[in-house]
């Protein structure tokens, strides 16, 4: 990637934003404070509602082009500029640079390279004392790094500072990046208390439909139906085609997915759904036509994503900020998954080795009701060598959340 290219991308995007910004300013509020500068509605909990595109323009109008550029400027140019602007003589500048250098912060002899992965002996900082305590405790338990940590490392390594192969795929300078948490449905009783979620990064130019497509929920894959008489024709997975309707609810607006024929008349269902839950007056818009920059939201506030008729997820936008040179800058890798709750897989009740694929009810062979079997054990116990069903049980295909990770 060359200087010229980044510069042009930045410049063009910036210009178009500034134009938008001007028109926003004309219609926006002015006298009683700018409502597109987010502030707390409840301290440390959530913000007031603001328009994401206008928020971006507010930042861009304050920053110089180089402040949000991906390009690292030249050291000497910085020094020369500084000296000139502050009226500092050359020798003062040299002294200043040495005073403010990294060397002045070094806490060990120059010829020694300390091991930064261990707590130094006899620490005085309270943080270090605490860390030592924690490490000693962990060592006494003899636990090594858990899967969760490993997985987080993996995601991190993949995404930090990534650049695209094609210039056209570069996330433009001055673009906004949103961090979005999608929580798994509360009905999943096992996880009520730890609030498992996935975290996605999206850019301002993404649409809500793209967010929808990036949300993976097991109920999008759940096979409906009882297949005990015909286990061979039970499909492996059934995709989103089952019920295509879905909507997001942000700040009084229902955003419906209208991309498919089957979705066209969901509006009525939504309105009734809203009535039943005493929702305040609301309007509707199309998910696929709504970009994040068009949205008005509160950061930190729980909103709603509903699909498959009744599978409800909380959606929280936890962060909105300008893109940075260390971000993953390849558009193609967005929506970018940065966190996913790892669910332990449910093993077969018989062999305890393989992941469960069937669950049965009314089953005389089962140690529990309902009971989970791997495909092998299920067929072995419930069918004779010719494949004839033995007994009166009911069998449902099962998609394991853990297997789906």
């Amino acid at each position: 990637m060359t200087n010229a290219i980044t510069y042009i991308t930045h410049k063009s995007l910036r210009t178009s934003y500034v134009i938008q910004g001007d028109s926003m300013a004309a219609s926006g509020p002015s006298a009683d404070g700018n409502t597109n500068i987010p502030d707390y509605e409840y301290t440390d909990v959530n913000t007031t509602a603001f328009h994401i595109g206008s928020f971006r323009n507010e930042w861009l109008s304050r920053l110089k082009a180089e402040d949000c550029s991906y390009q690292q400027e030249d050291d000497d140019a910085f020094d020369a500029n500084f000296a000139k602007e502050m009226g500092v003589a050359a020798e003062t500048m040299t002294e200043l640079k040495s005073i403010c250098s990294l060397d002045s912060l070094r806490c060990h002899p120059e010829d020694e390279q300390p091991d930064t992965e261990v707590v130094p002996p006899d620490p005085t900082l309270k943080t270090l004392v605490q860390r030592k305590k924690k490490q000693d405790y962990r060592a006494s338990l003899k636990v090594t790094k858990n899967r969760h940590d490993l997985y987080a490392d993996e995601l991190e390594r993949l995404t930090v500072g990534r650049r695209p192969e094609e210039v056209a795929d570069l996330v433009p300078e001055g673009e906004v990046i949103l961090t979005i948490n999608i929580y798994y449905p509360a009905i999943f009783e096992k996880f009520n208390y730890i609030r498992p979620h996935m975290t996605l990064l999206m850019t301002g130019s993404h649409s809500l439909a793209e967010l929808r497509d990036a949300i993976c929920c097991v109920s999008d894959l759940q096979v409906c139906g009882e297949f005990s008489n015909t286990p061979d024709i039970a499909p492996d997975f059934i995709s989103k085609d089952h019920y295509k309707s879905a909507f997001f609810f942000f700040e009084g607006v229902f955003y419906n997915d209208m991309r498919f024929q089957e979705c066209q008349d969901i509006s009525m269902t939504v309105i009734e759904w809203a009535k039943a839950r005493n929702f305040p007056p609301h309007s509707q818009a199309k998910m696929e036509d709504t970009q994040f920059v068009d949205l008005k939201v509160k950061v930190g506030f729980p909103y709603l994503y509903c699909h498959q008729g009744d599978c409800e997820h909380l959606v929280i936008i936890t962060d909105v900020r300008l893109a940075h040179r260390n971000d993953c800058l390849d558009k193609k890798l967005y929506p970018l998954l940065t966190h996913k709750h790892r669910v332990t897989t449910q093993k077969c009740a018989v062999c305890h080795v393989f992941i469960g694929r069937w669950f049965t009810t009314n089953d005389q062979f089962a140690p529990s009701e309902p009971c989970l079997f791997c495909d092998k054990c299920f067929r072995m116990l419930h069918y004779d060598s010719e494949g004839n069903k033995l007994g009166d049980f009911l069998a449902y295909p099962y998609v394991d959340r853990g297997a789906f990770n």
Binding site: T43, R62, D149, G300, V320
Partner: protein
């Protein structure tokens, strides 16, 4: 990672407290304390994924010292601390410092004050952070997950670091009391020049408290005590101030306007002098 929040806060406050004692805004002075405390070691002992999470925690908990309501000197210390932590962190590539849109104006004002006062090192460190692209330009100072419990644990601001200029004891200090005392004497002389005897004057034209100055002084002392004992004293303090204003207002001689103006200008002058102290080289 929240596990370390309390310890990190206390370590940072200790460093800033030592910096405050020096009454300096020089980076040299700051970095000396940093080295004495082996502060770079705060990152030692974190591995893998912890590095990034700990950098995040440390930068988030330090950022507020760089903003109001802290005094200029503490804000300088906060800036130096942010810079030093940012440069010394073990996460690679580095975690950024979060800067919220609502705090931008405060920060630019701080930069301007530093430029105006020719604090070259303060300006240099600040511009270095911009140059190093150390900031994320964000909506809010931290990510928000609708976590209502976190609020309960939110720790109090360190009282000694807060801007002092607004405090009554700064406004009504020894010099002001002396000045008031002089004015009071002048007023007494004025009265006696009008009447035949001083005894007569004192009793007949008794428009102002005889012991105005000692009373004002004791009120300020009261206010100090209130800082330990809270509310009730403040009410009494305000009540006394109001009473005194009424007394001053009742002085029906031509000196009245001048006297009020003198007190006012002295009071404001003191306030701005206190601010100026923060800029001491």
């Amino acid at each position: 990672m929240d596990f370390f929040r309390k310890q990190v806060k206390s370590d940072c406050e200790e460093l800033l407290r030592r910096f405050q004692e020096t009454d300096s805004v020089r980076f040299e002075v700051f970095s000396k304390i940093w080295r004495e405390m082996n502060f770079a070691q705060i990152f030692y002992g974190t591995v893998g994924h912890e590095k990034r999470a700990f950098s995040r925690l440390v930068l988030d908990s330090t950022c507020r010292f760089f903003l109001p309501p802290f005094s200029f000197q503490i804000r300088v210390g906060g800036l130096y601390l942010l810079y030093s932590l940012y440069r010394c962190q073990t996460a690679s590539p580095s975690e950024q410092i979060r800067l919220a849109l609502k705090d931008w104006d405060d920060m630019k004002k701080f930069e301007k004050d530093a430029v105006d006062a020719q604090h070259v090192d303060v300006v240099y460190i600040f511009r270095q952070l911009m140059f190093l692209k150390a900031f994320h330009f964000t909506a809010m100072p931290t990510q928000l997950t609708y976590n209502k419990k976190k609020k309960v644990e939110r720790s109090a601001l360190c009282e000694e670091f807060i801007e002092r200029a607004s405090r009554p004891q700064q406004l009504i200090n020894i010099e002001l009391l002396e000045e008031l005392s002089n004015i009071h004497d002048l007023y007494k002389k004025l009265k006696s020049s009008v009447s035949m005897t001083t005894e007569q004057a004192d009793s007949s034209v008794n428009l102002i408290h005889k012991d105005l100055v000692p009373q004002l002084r004791s009120t300020v002392v009261d206010f100090y005590k209130w800082q330990q004992r809270k509310v009730r004293h403040l009410h009494r303090f305000l009540f006394k101030i109001i009473c005194m204003c009424v007394f001053l207002d009742n002085i029906s001689c031509s000196k009245r306007a001048g006297l009020l103006a003198s007190i006012k200008s002295k009071a404001y002058g003191q306030a701005s002098e206190v601010c100026a102290l923060c800029y001491r080289f």
